[in-house]
Symmetry: C2
Subunit: 484 residues, 2 copies
């Protein structure tokens, strides 16, 4: 089949925002209810505490994001929810009042679109919350509820809040705060489809789908894609799938997934044995054992053969997220490991996604620590910000990085070299993970048109012998580069 994925994603750099922690408006707006009990912005996150970020605050930061160079935002959930991460949806049609409600979101969507920034929302369609109307009705009315078959009831009575008794309903990971929809009920399926459609009609540019693998109802995601694309063929649909996602990346369901398969390979390669077990051993991705450049080459080759190329170009690539420790912390804040991973993130096929704050060196361990408040400017790591800006800029304005063919060129124990090729543009990307400088001699085959004109990124000595198609590289210890 002819697989079609959204073109705009291929040249996008995403910025993932956890709304409670990114920005709090300096100019409170009407309709923004004043919460109590907010934790001070600069304290470490707690499981239940709110810092009080809001969407008016995000609007005030759009200048910053534009200057950074990102052109798409992925928001973790923004709908009304009685939880600071808002994965416990209470109402899919209302933006959370603490975020400023629908009014703030409409303003944000307008402001983002005026800057040619896309907005992707997080759709939590596997489960809802105890307060979600149709589930709450079951709590209130028990077996009399008119909506009893909207969820998966095991027995009566239900015990939503008292953990000493069986919950008696299916919930995500047996967490009773997260009752699971009965997707086999056609009414429920229709209800969820309509939510998907509603926000796309309102103008959002796509959906990131939370745990979509948990929805087993046959045809569910195929119908979702069909209905969403009927409204906006360029809407982006990206699933949270941590593993081999071929089941969902057949062209009839998602345009991509959160590409943790790539994440774990980048981390294992450039982080190697620097990764701190405490942050990864219980995580749902596996960035170990350490990979040599040769092994990395094999793993990447395997990933690139897993899915159709059009989907590779619209994968959402990332080094970390609200669901992992921050990569900076995972590698013990080793500066070179962070930079090299970022370089690979921005040069691999797929759309890079920056988890808010990574670009200024925000640290953070496992949840909830990975959800710290965005710090004031005096706490930024300006080196990190500087190479982020460079890489974002290259990624967006070098077409070969967006859609160019990926070609493996060279690997030994510590050096990995590949090319991104598109029509007249050839980029050579090289990474040396060794603690020593490495010299490599590369014979570029006849199919690659390379001119060796300039270094786009990185410290490297190079010599391009056009007649022999030979590239001699001297890569400093733990460094990488992009050559054109």
């Amino acid at each position: 089949m002819d697989i079609k994925t959204p073109d705009w994603v291929k040249s996008s750099v995403f910025y993932q925002i956890f709304p409670d922690r990114f920005a709090k408006t300096q100019h409170p707006k009407p309709g923004l209810w004043q919460p109590k009990n907010l934790e001070p912005w600069d304290t470490l996150p707690t499981p239940q505490g709110y810092k009080g970020g809001d969407l008016w605050g995000v609007i005030e930061k759009l200048d910053y994001l534009q200057e950074l160079g990102v052109n798409a935002i992925y928001f973790t959930p923004i709908f009304q929810s009685a939880c600071n991460h808002r994965y416990h949806t209470h109402d899919y049609y209302q933006v959370d009042p603490m975020l400023g409600g629908n009014l703030a979101f409409e303003a944000l969507l307008d402001a983002a679109h005026q800057r040619d920034m896309k907005v992707v929302l997080d759709g939590v369609f596997n489960h809802a919350s105890r307060g979600f109307f149709f589930f709450n009705d079951i709590l209130e009315n028990g077996s009399h509820s008119p909506w009893v078959d909207w969820f998966r009831i095991i027995d009566w009575p239900l015990s939503p809040y008292d953990g000493s008794k069986p919950a008696n309903y299916m919930s995500w990971w047996d967490i009773r705060a997260l009752p699971q929809f009965n997707h086999d009920n056609p009414q429920v399926k229709e209800y969820l489809m309509q939510i998907g459609e509603y926000w796309v009609k309102k103008g959002i540019d796509g959906w990131r789908l939370d745990v979509p693998n948990e929805i087993k109802t046959l045809g569910f995601w195929q119908e979702f894609r069909t209905r969403i694309k009927a409204i906006n063929p360029e809407a982006y649909i990206v699933g949270e799938i941590w593993t081999d996602a071929r089941e969902w990346l057949d062209g009839t369901q998602f345009d991509g997934v959160m590409n943790y398969l790539l994440t774990e390979k980048i981390l294992a390669f450039v982080g190697g044995d620097r990764l701190l077990d405490i942050y990864v051993e219980s995580a749902p991705y596996n960035p170990y054992p350490p990979l040599s450049a040769k092994e990395y080459a094999k793993k990447i080759d395997k990933i690139l053969n897993l899915y159709p190329w059009q989907i590779q170009l619209t994968q959402m690539n990332l080094l970390d997220s609200h669901d992992t420790a921050r990569y900076r912390t995972v590698v013990g804040e080793d500066p070179k490991s962070i930079e090299l991973a970022t370089l690979l993130l921005f040069t691999s096929p797929g759309a890079p996604s920056i988890y808010y704050g990574d670009e200024i060196g925000l640290a953070g361990g496992l949840d909830p620590d990975c959800r710290r408040s965005f710090p004031p400017e005096n706490n930024w790591d300006l080196d990190v910000l500087d190479y982020h800006k460079k890489l974002i800029n290259l990624r967006r304005y070098c077409p070969a990085l967006c859609t160019g063919e990926y070609q493996f060129i060279f690997a030994n124990q510590s050096v990995y070299v590949f090319a991104r090729l598109l029509e007249e543009q050839t980029l050579i990307i090289a990474v040396n993970i060794s603690e020593q400088a490495e010299k490599v001699v590369i014979d570029l085959n006849q199919t690659i048109t390379f001119n060796g004109e300039q270094i786009l990124y990185g410290d490297v000595e190079y010599d391009w012998i056009q007649s022999k198609k030979q590239l001699n590289l001297i890569l400093p210890a733990r460094s990488g580069c992009i050559l054109e």
Copy 2:
């Protein structure tokens, strides 16, 4: 002060609809989710059961209501709620999905307004429900909740569903399903005010306020009135106050109350000792002891002196409601008692309100029995329907019944006579509660211009001696009349 109440109410006849029980659409519409567990329409009500009435069904019945002659509808709550009577509001901005949602309500409002019918909604602003977002957040987050001061918490932990432990929050009548707002929190006050404003901006013609006496925050209802009237000066604000309501009927708060003070006098007078104790002894109104006509006269005089005249004209008068047994059942289905009470309802100052089904003789004891489904036509009492139509017609098209001065004329043990006077129109209304025909001779004083032209309603023999200003009436047993 100059008290201003909505003119349209003075010439309106209300029809009170309990939405789950009035009409179910014959042509299901998009957005109308199909409930499970509906009880058959023709079975008796149960505390938790739904019959599945909806607003599309009401639209289909507007022809019937128009032919009946009513020109205003008061809906008991229609907002999203996990309860068949919907006084447990889950979301004040959403019409219940089982009723057809906001889509159905917009269609209904349009269709009603096209017929010059007004629509008044029930505002439940004292308490919400366990699923209502800001309360649910407190259940989810406990003392960490950002909205913890939106309700009245006594201690932690809360026990919303387990009755064996203290609820630890204030609720209406200690019913833990109905947590009480903290109206002293200015944010809460603002939130509720905005709900009031929102629906008036959407086009509703007024608010019936549920248990408004429970809200003790100083100035709450004054602000509500000011803000509602600023949007629509003719919006009707009517409170559910069962007793002496002078505190709220000072012209700065409500335009009227549900006039149970009148209800109980009418019932005690025309029902007398026919009232069945079982239906009234535990009720929050007191239609006993039986009243003679002379006693009724005194009571009415007292009521009419209780409030300003402009408010008398916009009281909501009723014989029963969803909160009482149906009058038909209260009087043991005695036909004459029903007719006489209806006659007084339609001739007293204030807007008569017909509780759905009363006009076709629907019976029903205490809640939930008073909320039976509207029956099919073959179960209608056509005599009752016939005099309802006559009285509605007279009430709407005789200006004296709408706004005419009320003048007591005569009372003995069993006969009560009064006039409604407006400019050129004088109507004499007489009621005889005796089991015998009664002859009375009435000297009309010089201030009344009466022509004795015709009988507008009822079986009566009369003789009008213009020269002596003397009216001789022979009223059959348990009958009433309207003369012009």
